[in-house]
Every structure is written in C-alpha cells, then in structure tokens.
C-alpha cells in the first residue's frame, strides 16, 4: 500500500487529537468517550494498514539484524498496540453505553477499572516514546506540510499583478 506522507500526517494528527479527547472523559462525557474510543480503534487499524509493508518486513526479518534501531521501534509499537487493545477491551468491559445499547449488562468490577486506567497510563507513556522514536519524521513532515506553507503564505508577495481592466472607450 503506497500512501503519501501527507495522508499519513493528516491521519496521525487526527488520531492524536482523538487520543487526547478520548483519554479525557470529563471533556466529552461518558457516552462520547465510549463511542469515540470505539472509532479510535478503527483509526488505529487504518494507521496499521498504512504501515503494513513495514510491519510485515519487521515481523519476518526481526532477528536478521537484531541490533538495528528499527527493532526498538517494532518492540515499542508492539507494546503500544497491546496497551491500546487492553485499554479498548477493558473499556468495553466497564462500558455503560455501548454494551447497554447491545442489550448486554455486565457487573462493573473494580479490577477492570484498574486495568483500564493502568493500560491508559501505559499507552500514554508508550505514545510519548513512539513520538520520540519517529521525531525526525514528525518534525520534517510538520515543517514541510504545515509550517512552510503557512510561512509561505505570510511571506510570499503577490506573484501576479492584478489584471488591469481594459476599458474600451468607443467614440
């Protein structure tokens, strides 16, 4: 799958904003928190699809060049995926709205609540590490597609002069 950097950047920014909002149920209320988190799972799947080739390459040749930097990326991303999955699943187990809509009623146990908050904290830490490991790509992409165009708009003088209206005066 070939996807341009711009598309990747837009998707990643959208996922990050969704993460920030979904991780704060106080901002949205519980119902939006649950549904946003569920759609966030779909966004993560899309993110993984965009990097599918890299994922397959890393999985199949992990031990060939064990001390390469990309192996660290892979391990961090793997733990991040596990943490996010546990957040989603434990969130479903303590869900008040999604499961109620499906007609399922579960006892909300304190264990699942603890797991939900613990895995959310782990996800936050791993997101920070994930960002750090892709820092060069983030900086370059943001500069190329966001900062430079904005600066260009404010600096660039008008490229073309205003067209002069030619009024033909008929005598």
């Amino acid at each position: 799958m070939t996807v341009k950097t711009k598309t990747n950047l837009v998707l990643d920014i959208a996922i990050f904003i969704a993460f920030l909002v979904a991780a704060n149920p106080r901002l949205t209320g519980n119902t939006i928190h649950e549904w946003l988190s569920l759609s966030f799972a779909a966004a993560i799947v899309a993110h993984l699809l965009f990097h599918w080739k890299w994922l397959v390459k890393m999985t199949t040749s992990y031990f060939k060049n064990f001390f390469h930097r990309s192996r660290l990326h892979y391990v961090v991303d793997m733990f991040f995926f596990v943490a996010m999955t546990v957040v989603m699943f434990s969130g479903l187990m303590i869900s008040k709205d999604i499961l109620a809509l499906l007609g399922i009623q579960l006892d909300i146990s304190r264990t699942w609540k603890s797991i939900h908050s613990l895995s959310a904290d782990a996800s936050m830490i791993l997101l920070g590490v994930h960002f750090a490991l892709h820092w060069t790509w983030i900086v370059n992409s943001v500069k190329l597609y966001i900062v430079d165009p904005i600066l260009g708009m404010s600096r660039k003088p008008a490229a073309k002069p205003f067209p002069v209206l030619q009024v033909s005066q008929e005598k």
Partner: protein, 99 residues
C-alpha cells in the same frame, strides 16, 4: 480484498490479546471473589458512586487534555534528549575508528 485480509489479521491479534487479558483477569478475580465476598460488594458500591462521570465539563476536560499533552510532550522530550545524548557518546568512537 487484500486490505480486508490485513484488517482481519489485525483484529485477530487484537482478539487474541483481549482473550488473554480476559482469561488472566477472570481467573485472578474469581479467586478473590471466593475468598473475599465483601470486597466485591465494596467494588460495586464504588462503581455506583462514580455515576457523576457521565457529565462533561469543558474547563475540567480541557485541563485534562492540556495535562495529558504536557505529559506526552515531557516523555517525548526525555526520550529525544536521551537519544541525542547516546548519539553524542557514540560519535567520538566513530571518529576514532575512522580517524
């Protein structure tokens, strides 16, 4: 068609992780429930008290977003700085080898 297969693979991995978590938690919590029944009661009461989380507060929520943003930025900054520090330590070794 290929993408559907990839999505199924991702979902399969996610389901496996979820099933593993469920098995771990339910096995452990089952043993707690049999040994301490009153503990479960207090957990349920705790759940009822937190009914207030259904409500939203924009100011409080935005503070939470900013706090989370600051935490992620802090962790990112620490790791980036650590990477740069490691790179600084590694550079002299490279120059010794090449020089």
């Amino acid at each position: 068609m290929k993408n559907i297969l990839y999505i199924l693979v991702i979902l399969l991995v996610a389901v496996t992780i979820s099933a593993g978590t469920y098995a771990l938690v339910e096995n452990n919590s089952a043993s707690v429930e049999t040994t301490n029944a009153s503990g479960e009661m207090s957990a349920r009461q705790g759940g009822q008290h937190e009914g207030g989380e259904h409500g939203a507060s924009f100011a409080g929520g935005m503070m939470g977003v900013l706090s989370l943003l600051a935490k992620v930025a802090g962790i990112t900054a620490i790791v980036v700085l650590l990477e740069k520090a490691f790179a600084l330590f590694q550079k002299p070794q490279v120059s010794q080898l090449t020089g």
